[in-house]
Structure formats: structure tokens, C-alpha cells
């Protein structure tokens, strides 16, 4: 198993930083039953984070990394934005390439890993913001769905270009005032979850990250379905507390209030996806 690459060379053990030794000794490798409940007791795959204090996106990334069923053989591809600032902190093989091309890069990686390692499971997961997924990268996102690429795409929707200073995005709700939309956004929020269904995704979920256990279930189902059937898409509300004028401790309340309206939990599964999920449930992995 590839988690051997986390083994510390004995010659260097006395000078290797403790967090790297912890990765070998206390991270949950080789255990598909790992999950968010391990967070307090195991070594996380996120080494601190570089986002604002209280940023819900950092919570989302922690829950996602804790929920990966096969982290030792998972490749993560991201795009430019706040998420990319976290990538150097993730203890996996990750890629930041360009702004918007994440699903293309992930397609190339997934296909080649299937070709090079026909007998191994290698999961490929895309983590990107709403600008990367739905504006500049929409073509590449949808085309990877059309082509039935076996990858899981996770969109962190904060409804704004946060990293560049708060500009309107395609996922901003109509009427909200942001930079580049000084009179308020003129068109509706793009229903990306519906586009994902129409474009051939086999599992689609929309939710906030207010409930870690729910995030864990959704992530695992999406990855298992992507592994065996085809593309899957998860749309997460991770508000930018900075851009909407909230305090560091307001993120959770903001998500809970949206749980009841435009981010009410929504899930879609094709019959093939249902079959895969039932199989993993029977194996006790879901």
C-alpha cells in the first residue's frame, strides 16, 4: 500500500519534524472506516491551515480529508483561489495547475493512473471554488461529466470571488451587491447541482458544512460511486465570513440559517449509484 511513502527514514528520525512523524504513527491510513469522528484522536491530513480564522472552508477541507476512504491512494486536484492557499498544508499528492482547468488535469491523471495501475484503486478528487468550477472552469467541469470521467468534483461555494477581493460570481444570488456588480447581481444564481445532473453525474449533493457527519457520508458515497460508475458532484456552502461581514465565530450560524433555504440538503443518485452505495453499506463502509 502506498501509505508506506509516509514511513520516516530511520536515519533521519531524530531530526524529522514531529508533525511528519505523527503522519506515520497517528494518521488513519489503510482504514476505509475512518471519518470525522477520528479528528480529535488521529493526526489530520491538513497541517494547520492558512485561511482566515473561523473560515467555514477550512472546516470543510478538514471534514473532507478526514472522510476520504482511501487517502493513501487519493490524488487531489485544485484550482486558483482560497482553496489553493491550503494545498501546501495537505499531506497527500496534490496538484495546483491553472485557474479553471482542474477537471481537465484530473481527467488526465485519473485515466493514466487507471492505465498504469490497472489492479489498484486510485481515487481522484477535485476541490475548487465557485469561480473555478462554475465560471472560468464551467466548460471543463461539465465536459468531464459528459465524458463520464471517474472523478469526484467538490465545489466550495462561497457565492463570491473571495481571494481576489470580493467580486460577483456566477453563484452569487441575484441582487447581491459585490464588486463588479455595483448595482447588484443582474441574474440568478447558477443551479450548478442541476447542471451536474443534466450533464451525467451519477451522484449529486448540495449542502452546507454545518453537519460534519453528513459531510462524511456524502463524501464517501460520492467517492465510491465515482470509483465504480462515473462522475460525481458535491456542492458545499462555505460562506466567506469576511466578504459578507460576519465575525470569526459566525460561520456555523450562517450555514445553519442557509440549511433551511437555498442550501437545503439535496441529493440525487442514479440507479447505478444506488447499487454501489447499497453494496458499500452491506460491507459496513457507509
Amino acid at each position: 500500500m502506498a501509505y508506506k511513502i509516509y514511513k520516516v527514514n530511520e536515519e533521519f528520525r531524530d531530526i524529522v519534524p514531529q508533525e511528519v512523524i505523527d503522519l506515520e504513527e497517528k494518521a488513519t491510513w489503510g482504514n476505509p472506516k475512518r471519518g470525522v469522528m477520528d479528528l480529535p484522536v488521529s493526526k489530520e491530513l491538513l497541517e494547520e491551515h492558512s485561511l482566515c480564522a473561523g473560515c467555514p472552508e477550512s472546516a470543510a477541507i478538514r471534514y473532507i480529508l478526514a472522510s476520504l476512504p482511501n487517502p493513501e491512494d487519493t490524488i487531489i486536484v485544485n484550482s486558483t483561489g482560497c482553496t489553493s492557499l491550503v494545498f501546501p498544508h495537505i499531506s497527500l499528492h496534490t496538484v495546483h495547475s491553472l485557474f479553471g482547468n482542474q477537471n481537465s488535469v484530473a481527467s488526465g491523471i485519473k485515466r493514466v493512473l487507471e492505465w498504469r495501475f490497472p489492479d489498484k484503486v486510485k481515487d481522484v478528487v477535485v476541490l475548487a471554488g465557485d469561480g473555478a468550477t462554475v465560471d472560468i472552469g464551467l466548460d471543463y467541469t461539465l465536459q468531464s461529466f459528459f465524458r463520464q470521467e471517474k472523478i469526484t468534483t467538490i465545489c466550495f461555494d462561497n457565492e463570491v470571488y473571495a481571494n481576489t477581493g470580493g467580486q460577483e460570481s456566477g453563484l452569487t444570488p441575484k441582487g447581491h451587491v459585490f464588486k463588479m456588480a455595483p448595482k447588484g447581481k443582474q441574474f440568478e444564481k447558477v443551479p450548478m447541482w442541476q447542471l451536474a445532473i443534466d450533464s451525467g453525474c451519477h451522484y449529486v449533493a448540495r449542502l452546507t458544512v454545518s453537519s460534519p457527519k453528513k459531510v462524511e457520508r456524502v463524501i464517501k458515497e460520492a467517492i465510491y460511486v465515482a470509483r465504480e460508475v462515473g462522475p460525481t458532484y458535491i456542492h458545499l456552502y462555505t460562506p466567506c465570513i469576511l466578504e459578507i461581514g460576519l465575525n470569526s465565530d459566525d460561520g456555523l450560524d450562517e450555514m445553519r440559517s442557509r440549511d433551511k433555504e437555498r442550501f437545503a440538503f439535496f441529493e440525487y443518485k442514479t440507479p447505478e449509484a444506488e447499487e454501489v452505495i447499497a453494496k458499500y453499506k452491506a460491507e459496513g463502509l457507509l
Binding site: 502506498a2 511513502i5 490524488i75 486536484v77 495501475f117 490497472p118
Partner: protein, 395 residues
């Protein structure tokens, strides 16, 4: 895991594995008659290519179809049609990061649509091969031969080679992998030819047998860890993120960019070996009239050299540049040391090769450097035009 050891005797297609030297220089060759697009297929067939992604654009489409046929026949591991050239060049980047030997093809406007990817390729140190069948760029719309797009590519950190004809294209594609994949080089290689003049022209070509092939690419020799979760370090971001506002990050970015250029410089000895020199001369070695050219402009210049000798009794020579990046500075200085007149015939409006030659010869040559004849947009360059220009200058 798919075979990646150099010691194995056969690749996945059942071809016997031979060294690049054997394939290029020693294997017996047979004469065939084919187009540049067909020569691409023959080269890829003998190159143990893991992956290719394609997109239609004239004049490279046929080459891309033929790579697809090789996939259907089991010679290429992964192949599909991407959504557009920006997507394609990102897909091949992902494929290369995951440890594949990759080739793709494009032309003209496709090159420009893909553009953001090329400096990313070199920065991420992937030895992707792009066969560029040069064509005009808009506007107005043109699908004709014109190599303006090569000018735009000069500073992307990719190696750029320029093949004159069908034979050279075949040999350069094979040599391209051998050079680009050297651990101390490991940058992308753009193998350029003139669209139509080479892609669509049927010529004699000598090919080694098709039951031998290059050793498969070994990604574990890469200077950057391959993205497959099989090699330490476990925590690895490709590419390194240096976007912090401090001098260490600025210096890291700068040194990374310089290192990409240094890697191209380190390709010189390998390219000299596999291309048998970065330049090639034709005509009277001591002549003071010199044409410096690449691609089919070199072919036309050779015809002009013959015509000058036959009709005017004037001796001249052609210095053909096979590599543009790295640029063959020393070879060019040596080859033009007796020159009084240096003519640079080109298939583009801006004269990018003239600029390159002027830069290379600045304070190193007293010759008059003349950027002519220059044609574009699909115009041809008859030898008579070249001869006429020369006679006007030297009388």
C-alpha cells in the same frame, strides 16, 4: 503496475524494446512514401506512448486521428478527444504528471487557445511532446501555412525544434522523447513543422521496422515526484506554491523560472547527439552569401542556392536551424563567420527568426542581415523570388 522497467524486452504492444540510438541510427530502414501526418503516426507507433489527447483543427487533425488509430490498435495506452485546446493541453499535463509519456498535436488558433498551458507545462517540468503543425492565426481567418504562432511560443520555457520535411519530423519525434525525458532536461518539447507543406505533402521517407520501439517512459527518473501516491514525499504539491509576499518566495519563483531555461540549455549535448547537430549546412561552405532558415523556408532556400549557382554562377549556402530553443548560437556564429550577406527567408509577417539571428550575431558578425523574403497567410515562397531578392541586394 504497467511495465516501466527499462530492462523488459517488450512493451505492452508486443514491440521489442530498443535504445533510442538503435531506433534512430542503427536499425535497418525501408523506403516508404507518405505525408507528414502519416509520419507522425509511424513515429508514435515506435515510441511506446502512454497517452494522447486530441482536438480537431486544420491542418493537424489527420495526425491526431492516426494517433487515435494507434490507440485502437493497442499501441497507445490512453486516448480521447478533448473539449478544446485549453482542455486538451491540461489533460495531457495531468496525464504527464501522473507518469505518462504524452504526445499531442495542434495548429494556429488552437495553439493560442491552449496558450496558458505551455508555461505551466515547462514550470511543472513535464516532458510532453507537442507536434505543432504551424498555420496562420486570426484575424482574418486563415487555415494556410504560416508560422507566426512559433514566435509566441519562443519564451514559454518549452524546447522548440523545427523539422524541414517528413523524414525529419519522424526522426525528431523519436529524438524529442529521448532528449526531453533526460532527468537533467525534463521540459516539454514542441516539434514544429509547416502545416500543409509538411503535414499534407507526400514524400519519400526511410523507416525502421515497426516491431521495435523506444523503452517505455520511467516516471521515477523525473526530477519532480510523479503524482501517483507511490513515491515520497507524501505531502507534495505540484507545483510548489510560492505565492507569499516575501523575498524568499519571489526568489524561489525567479530561480524556478531560470532553472527551466537552464534545463533547455542542458539539452544541447543530447540534442546534438540525437539530431546529429543543431544545424545543418547546404551549398558552398565558404560562400559569403548565407541563408539562415528553418522548416520549409530552408527547403526553398536550398532550391535558390541551386538556382543562383546554375543561372548566375553565384555561390551561396543555407544554414538550417533544427533547434530554435535551445538556439544554436555557437553553430550560427561559426557557420556565418565568412558571411557578407545573411538572408532570412520566413513564413510570417513579423520576422521572428530574423530577430533571433540578429540577437545571436550582435557584435559577432559584420555581415548585413536581411530579413527577406518574407511571406505569410499561405503565400508560397518560390525560389525565383528568393533569387530576385538576393540579386537586388548584392548588385
Amino acid at each position: 503496475m504497467r511495465m516501466i522497467e527499462n530492462k523488459v524486452e517488450k512493451n505492452w504492444a508486443g514491440q521489442r524494446i530498443v535504445s533510442p540510438d538503435y531506433l534512430l541510427f542503427e536499425a535497418p530502414r525501408e523506403k516508404h512514401f507518405m505525408t507528414g501526418s502519416e509520419a507522425v503516426k509511424e513515429a508514435v507507433k515506435r515510441a511506446s506512448v502512454d497517452a494522447s489527447v486530441s482536438y480537431p483543427i486544420t491542418p493537424q487533425s489527420e495526425a491526431a486521428h492516426l494517433i487515435g488509430e494507434l490507440w485502437a490498435e493497442g499501441y497507445v495506452g490512453v486516448y480521447f478527444r478533448g473539449e478544446n485546446e485549453f482542455g486538451v493541453m491540461s489533460e495531457v499535463a495531468g496525464a504527464a504528471m501522473a507518469g505518462a509519456r504524452v504526445i499531442t498535436t495542434t495548429s494556429g488558433p488552437g495553439t493560442l487557445r491552449a496558450f496558458e498551458n505551455f508555461p505551466m507545462w515547462s514550470g511543472t517540468r513535464i516532458p510532453v511532446q507537442l507536434v505543432l503543425m504551424a498555420r496562420g492565426v486570426n484575424s482574418p481567418l486563415s487555415i494556410q501555412p504560416d508560422n507566426l504562432e512559433v514566435d509566441f511560443l519562443l519564451d514559454t520555457g518549452c524546447m522548440i525544434w523545427y523539422a524541414e520535411n517528413v523524414q525529419e519530423l519522424f526522426d525528431m519525434i523519436i529524438a524529442g522523447f529521448a532528449v526531453a525525458e533526460q532527468p537533467d532536461v525534463h521540459v516539454p518539447i514542441i516539434t514544429a513543422v509547416d502545416g500543409f507543406f509538411v503535414s499534407h505533402t507526400r514524400e519519400a521517407i526511410y523507416l525502421p521496422p515497426d516491431d521495435i520501439a523506444l523503452p517505455p517512459y520511467n516516471p521515477y527518473k523525473s526530477p519532480m515526484p510523479v503524482i501517483d501516491a507511490e513515491i515520497p514525499p507524501g505531502r507534495f504539491l505540484r507545483d510548489p506554491f510560492v505565492m507569499k509576499s516575501n523575498y524568499i518566495s519571489y526568489a524561489t519563483h525567479a530561480s524556478w523560472q531560470w532553472e527551466v531555461r537552464a534545463a533547455i540549455e542542458r539539452s544541447r549535448p543530447y540534442a546534438k547527439h540525437y539530431l546529429r547537430g543543431l544545424t545543418e549546412e547546404f551549398g558552398d561552405k565558404d560562400s559569403d552569401i548565407v541563408f539562415v532558415a528553418c522548416g520549409t523556408a530552408a527547403s526553398q532556400a536550398k532550391e535558390a542556392v541551386r538556382m543562383l549557382e546554375e543561372t548566375e554562377g553565384i555561390k551561396a549556402k543555407v544554414v538550417k536551424l533544427k533547434t530554435i530553443r535551445p538556439f544554436p548560437y555557437e553553430e550560427l556564429v561559426e557557420a556565418t563567420k565568412n558571411a557578407k550577406y545573411i538572408f532570412i527567408p520566413e513564413f510570417n509577417v513579423v520576422g521572428w527568426l530574423e530577430r533571433e539571428v540578429r540577437k545571436a550575431l550582435y557584435k559577432k558578425s559584420n555581415a548585413e542581415i536581411i530579413g527577406t523574403p518574407r511571406v505569410a497567410g499561405g503565400m508560397t515562397m518560390p525560389k525565383e523570388i528568393i533569387v530576385k531578392e538576393v540579386l537586388e541586394y548584392i548588385k
